[in-house]
């Protein structure tokens, strides 16, 4: 649905984005992560057709985003950072204006405006001037604007930045709801948000794509360990665990409260080995009360990938 290939962008001598490429398929919800100045916003500006890349190409639904027929643009709903809106306009008039500009047919405009007002929970605020709204409501107007032409692709640049916790939750819930029928690329600094909303993450640092993958794989690849807790310290357990195929080493038993013993198992493949451990446990009638993957947090993954690359200053991006 979104295909970026070899994207490069320089602002004067600053290389803001270098050779970034990825593909996002229909229905995916992808988190776009990176430190400040990593090139996220610049990449998004190229994806939406606002900036022309120095090299590379963006295709939306198979069509070049910069193509003359503007068809690719129809498929995109974009919410830029800082939510630019015509502040002096009333909410309903603004949304009507966007609907017109985005080519919603005259007969369908009213329905389109009503649909996004309902979806973004703006009822009761339609006659207010945008400048009188709180930041959270402005953000909803920004989302409503992105949704009004019912695009297949949503590109959201830090939709929750600067909002209070309650508003963050509301916007996040809305994104989750939208993810049922849209392809979404969402940039954010809030890592738990990504874990809650997205299945996949792209991590950008120093203008380069440093990680791209399923969240489970990204976090799992960091440290492959299983934690196994049994009731009753059985001397044979250690021996048995070490004998399982794919186990690299076992620590423990660490004796806990209520007669429980805990083992930490270093493994090659945490999914396969977990199955074997369970099979062994049922064969030996161990009283297993816990078996879990010890995964890295997204924070750890993020820091590992971005360490040392974080501070590529991009004055142009900072200025925008």
């Amino acid at each position: 649905m979104i295909a970026a290939r070899g994207l490069c962008k320089h602002y004067g001598p600053v290389r803001a984005v270098q050779d970034v490429g990825f593909e996002i398929h229909r229905g995916e919800v992808v988190g776009f992560l990176g430190p400040n100045g990593a090139g996220k916003s610049t990449t998004m500006k190229m994806l939406t057709g606002y900036l022309v890349p120095d090299a590379g190409e963006v295709r939306i639904a198979g069509r070049p985003v910069l193509a003359d027929d503007l068809a690719a643009r129809d498929a995109i709903g974009y919410l830029p950072e800082h939510t630019p809106l015509y502040r002096g306009m009333r909410v309903d008039r603004y949304l009507e204006f966007v609907a017109r500009m985005r080519g919603v047919a005259r007969g369908a405009r009213r329905a389109a405006v009503e649909r996004v007002i309902e979806r973004c929970d703006l009822a009761g605020y339609t006659r207010r001037r945008i400048q009188t709204l709180s930041k959270g409501y402005k953000q909803r107007v920004g989302l409503a604007q992105a949704l009004i032409a019912d695009p297949d692709v949503l590109i959201l640049d830090e939709p929750t930045s600067g909002l209070d916790p309650a508003e963050i939750v509301r916007i996040r819930d809305l994104v989750v709801e939208l993810s049922r029928d849209k392809t979404i690329l969402l940039s954010t600094h809030i890592l738990p948000e990504v874990e809650e909303v997205c299945r996949r993450a792209l991590i950008l640092a120093g203008g380069r794509l440093v990680a791209d993958g399923d969240l489970l794989d990204l976090t799992g690849a960091q440290a492959a360990r299983l934690a196994l807790t049994l009731v009753g310290a059985e001397t044979a357990v250690l021996e048995e665990l070490r004998g399982i195929d794919g186990v690299l080493g076992v620590e423990g038993p660490v004796l806990g409260g209520q007669n429980r013993a805990r083992y930490l198992i270093e493994v090659v493949d945490r999914f396969e080995v977990a199955e074997r451990v369970l099979a062994k446990a049922s064969k030996r009638s161990w009283r297993v009360c816990e078996l879990r993957h010890e995964t890295a947090t997204l924070e750890q993954v993020f820091l590992k990938h971005t360490r040392g690359l974080a501070g590529v200053a991009s004055p142009a991006e900072a200025a925008q």
Partner: protein
């Protein structure tokens, strides 16, 4: 094309809710009327008297001021047109919509031009009625003068919009716009000083010559209309290029 119309409609309502626009119209009409009735046009080689002193039933003095006063009023009117879109980030959003930059440029131009022409009419018509009450006014000079002024406004607006598209600072847009239009106004002053070959060129390039010698006196000349239309078209094309170049920043 439809989208240019939608843009123009939005701009209209934005101007109607802008205090700056009202202040500008008020100051412009009052100052112009004061100059017309009491001062005349003293800065020409052959000065024109004010209405009370000269006692001529003609609006020539009023029209003669327009190339200079509009060189200030038009950039003040359009200074925010692009600068504010850039500062507020709405430019970025609009340029990702399925919209061609020229449609946006045309819409903005139509809105500013039509409103400023209307303001010129609000200035000219009441004064024309007052002069009509005092003497024998030739109404054809009023209509031709107004249409001529409207063409002058078109060219000024297209150029001033370009100046707004150069920056995100309204003040800079205003100063650059006034400077550009002021220099165009000055061209005619230089005609007398320049060697004859150059003088002809300056005369041909000056907006003043294409307005003051003809439409302002009630004489309709198609070549002058064409001059203003070409200047307007050049401004609109330049503006579109400036907007397209934002994508390459």
């Amino acid at each position: 094309m439809k989208r240019a119309w939608f843009v123009a409609r939005r701009e209209w309502s934005a101007y109607f809710s802008s205090p700056l626009a009202y202040v500008l119209v008020l100051v412009f009409t009052l100052v112009q009327a004061g100059l017309f009735y009491f001062i005349g046009y003293p800065i020409a080689p052959v000065p024109l008297p004010g209405l009370w002193d000269g006692g001529q039933a003609s609006l020539l003095t009023l029209f003669t001021w327009l190339p200079l006063s509009l060189a200030v009023v038009v950039p003040a009117w359009t200074m925010g047109a692009w600068a504010e879109e850039r500062r507020g980030g709405t430019e970025e959003l609009m340029l990702t919509w399925p919209l061609r930059p020229w449609e946006w440029v045309l819409g903005k131009f139509l809105a500013s031009w039509s409103l400023l022409s209307l303001v010129a009419g609000l200035l000219v018509l009441p004064i024309a009625f007052s002069v009509h009450g005092l003497g024998d006014l030739d109404w054809s000079t009023v209509w031709v003068g107004w249409i001529g002024a409207s063409l002058l406004i078109a060219a000024y607006t297209a150029l001033a919009l370009c100046c707004s598209a150069l920056t995100s600072e309204q003040l800079v847009a205003f100063l650059v716009g006034s400077l550009l239009l002021g220099l165009l106004w000055l061209l005619r002053m230089l005609v007398g000083l320049a060697p004859s070959g150059l003088a002809g060129l300056l005369e041909a390039a000056s907006p003043q010559s294409h307005f003051l010698d003809t439409a302002a006196r009630g004489v309709w000349v198609w070549a002058d209309a064409l001059y203003f239309l070409l200047l307007t078209a050049a401004g609109l094309v330049w503006n579109t290029v400036l907007l397209e170049r934002r994508r390459l920043q």
